[in-house]
Symmetry: C2
């Protein structure tokens, strides 16, 4: 039997959480699966239909971006450095009301997919409205994705009547469950303050019936705490726990304003947390206490958030800032070392994403999701340890991306996306936004 | 008379601190100087020897990186996430003692120059030992630089006997003053805790006699405060002020641990401050209070610091983190807006660097230091305001760099540096470091 793809003579980092390089490594791929990953000299497998020369390149698992709102690429940089209420009410909500439609959702998600693939993300989790268009864009792009249909108790794009939000979400699951191995549909109930208890319970019930993940923004801002918490009343995490909503398939996004007791609950329930350091900084929401979360045994992943608040989808930059800012609160340089963050953005993230067998490691039997970075560059020289990937690399170093055994990016060229058409479509929509 | 270079049909950002784009702009360069920068349709000047097609590209002034230790690229990522004393005493100092020599200083500074040019820096300020090799590397690379010879009361690379540190610095000035329009020599007395008062006074006297800048690390860590400050005694800034050292030509680097009174002194003396947000975060030194500095009228510039502590020299990334982290302390999203940071990294920085007429704006009569970024990329689409340069762009977007009228980087290709040889030299040295 022939292999489909053989990567030769590459610097191999099979498990980024472990800082162990294989200097002259080789990866063999058959179909969607890795059949070998190890030293070149030990490879005894078959020749391949296609060989990729890995000299000068680092080969590692693709990154896992666990939170985004892909269509919001249209609003990238539309309104920066504003007070949150001003930002939302005077800029983002009006722009969404006017400009979000199926066509916008498809093209702007295609742009997001292109940006993620170009910067080394191979799996993403997304939550928005018109999510079927988002899922379609990701499917066309060949990106592995958990796509979650938004649920909110306000009129929303595509769901004008809030009382139909659960039915719309169910229809979305009908459309996507079991249809594409790379797309797993899910639900995204916006937040505890924008969804009634009844809506939250119905959303979780639907998620449980269908065996899908439920995403929810939790404890993002200090203001949210005051909205939910009466004096001595529950925190947002306690509130959700009280409703019986927290379990291993409920993914709590942000959790900036969580205390030790909240973390004990999240850890006890096995509910994953996705932190979005750049978005939280830029919107002045604050900074999640990552060291305490990890100490408490909370499952943590990393996300960029949408382009209206970040304003980019480069997970390398997200890792860098994540590792650096955690040293600020305690003035402890040992806090949140780079390899811990690399682990969140790969293995830990992959486990949270919930694709069977997916652990963002390069090993036989694993899905063939990998990226190759150009090491022959000044800012990546010298290379002593994998920390360099966090503190010096950027998404722009990525040259080749393989997802589920398919080459999606080849020497910097997107094979699955018509990028000229995508850029043109989004530019035209942006002109309309400015008018 | 012919122009030398004409950039046509470009998106022009003549003054990054002001968010005003010229959609179809044009820049004309004669010799080292800009002769026109404005709308294409208003250009009535001569044809040019060389025309650069600016379509799809943003043309803006080059960035000003006001603090670095160029040879330390060799130690990039050698020892990350360690406690400061452990980092310095067990890793950096021994590595410096063993590996810093003239050859190392030249090649590793060439690597730094390449990294800076590739990421859009056109002016840098550097302080290290064997600084004549650093200056030589910058001169060969065509980079505009203030190069400052290190002064410290310990045996240092190239200055084994500390009592000769001032004489060595004077010899360095002799070698470089008036020799190259792009290289301005200066002095770098390491810090108030590593230089005696006598050394500091002699260094400042020498700087005054020669009319050069004096750089000094000030108030970088909390520990430094305790070293200098007796109970109720002076802060590092007060200490230097008491010595009569602070004036408009003394540039204080870091200033993380400065209070309102310190800032009043710095502002009153006109002493510029250079902040290095990423280095300060990564080494867990803390975060300078930039909003208060600006409110107090302190002149502030931005720097990356050396590669042992950052670990890269990309000023776009530095700007991004600078703008984001300042919103953390006050939870105020309006704090330190992007255009303010862009202004620090261009105009404010250029004025501090002290090259005559240099203000990092594109206008007739100004030195022709400019960069061109590729806008036809997903992460830079759409482009609503110049904030995108801070929150989404990266050094990797830079395609063309002109310094003093000379094309140094052309469509991603370094014209002034043999990059293959440079990478090879540094890789060989890095192998020796690992042994």
């Amino acid at each position: 039997m022939e292999a489909d793809i053989l990567i030769t003579d590459t610097l191999l980092l099979p498990d980024p959480g472990q800082d162990t390089f294989i200097p002259s490594g080789c990866v063999a791929i058959c179909g969607a699966t890795i059949t070998y990953a190890g030293p070149m000299e030990n490879y005894n497998g078959p020749r391949a239909k296609q060989t990729i020369d890995g000299r000068g390149l680092l080969t590692m698992p693709g990154l896992i971006n666990l939170h985004g709102h892909a269509p919001m690429t249209l609003f990238r940089g539309l309104a920066d450095d504003l007070e949150l209420t001003d930002w939302l009410e005077n800029h983002i909500f009006p722009a969404e009301a006017k400009h979000v439609n199926t066509e916008m959702a498809y093209w702007c998600s295609t742009l997001a997919a292109a940006e993620m693939i170009l910067s080394g993300t191979t799996t993403t989790a997304d939550g928005y409205f018109f999510e079927t268009e988002v899922a379609r864009a990701f499917a066309d792009a060949g990106l592995r994705a958990v796509a979650a249909q938004g649920i909110i108790d306000f009129p929303a794009p595509g769901v004008e009547a809030p009382e139909k939000n659960i039915a719309a979400a169910a229809a979305f699951l009908d459309r996507w469950q079991g249809k594409n191995p790379l797309i797993r549909p899910a639900l995204f109930s916006h937040s505890p303050y924008s969804c009634s208890n009844e809506t939250l319970l119905k959303a979780k019930q639907l998620a449980r019936e269908r065996g899908v993940k439920l995403f929810i923004h939790v404890a993002e801002t200090k203001h949210e705490i005051s909205m939910i918490r009466e004096p001595l009343g529950p925190t947002p995490v306690q509130h959700l726990h009280g409703l019986g909503i927290l379990d291993a398939d409920t993914i709590c996004v942000h959790c900036v304003w969580t205390d030790a007791r909240d973390m004990d609950i999240l850890s006890g329930q096995g509910s994953p947390v996705v932190i979005c350091p750049q978005s939280n900084l830029k919107l002045a929401s604050g900074m999640a206490n990552l060291p305490l979360m990890l100490e408490k045994g909370v499952r943590v992943g990393l996300g960029t958030d949408g382009c209206a608040s970040n304003n980019g989808l480069d997970m390398f930059r997200e890792m860098d800032i994540c590792a650096k800012i955690q040293k600020l609160k305690t003035l402890d340089p040992v806090a949140t070392p780079a390899n811990k963050v690399l682990d969140l953005a790969t293995t830990k993230g992959a486990l949270i994403s919930g694709f069977p067998g997916h652990s963002a490691t390069l090993a036989p039997g694993k899905p063939a999701d990998l990226i190759m970075l150009d090491l022959v560059q000044p800012h990546l020289t010298p290379l002593y340890t994998a920390d360099l990937l966090v503190y010096a690399a950027s998404g722009a170093d990525v040259r080749t991306v393989i997802i589920n055994g398919r080459i999606i990016l080849e020497q910097g060229r997107l094979l699955s996306i018509n990028i000229d058409e995508t850029l043109e479509q989004v530019r035209t929509m942006a002109c309309a936004v400015l008018q």
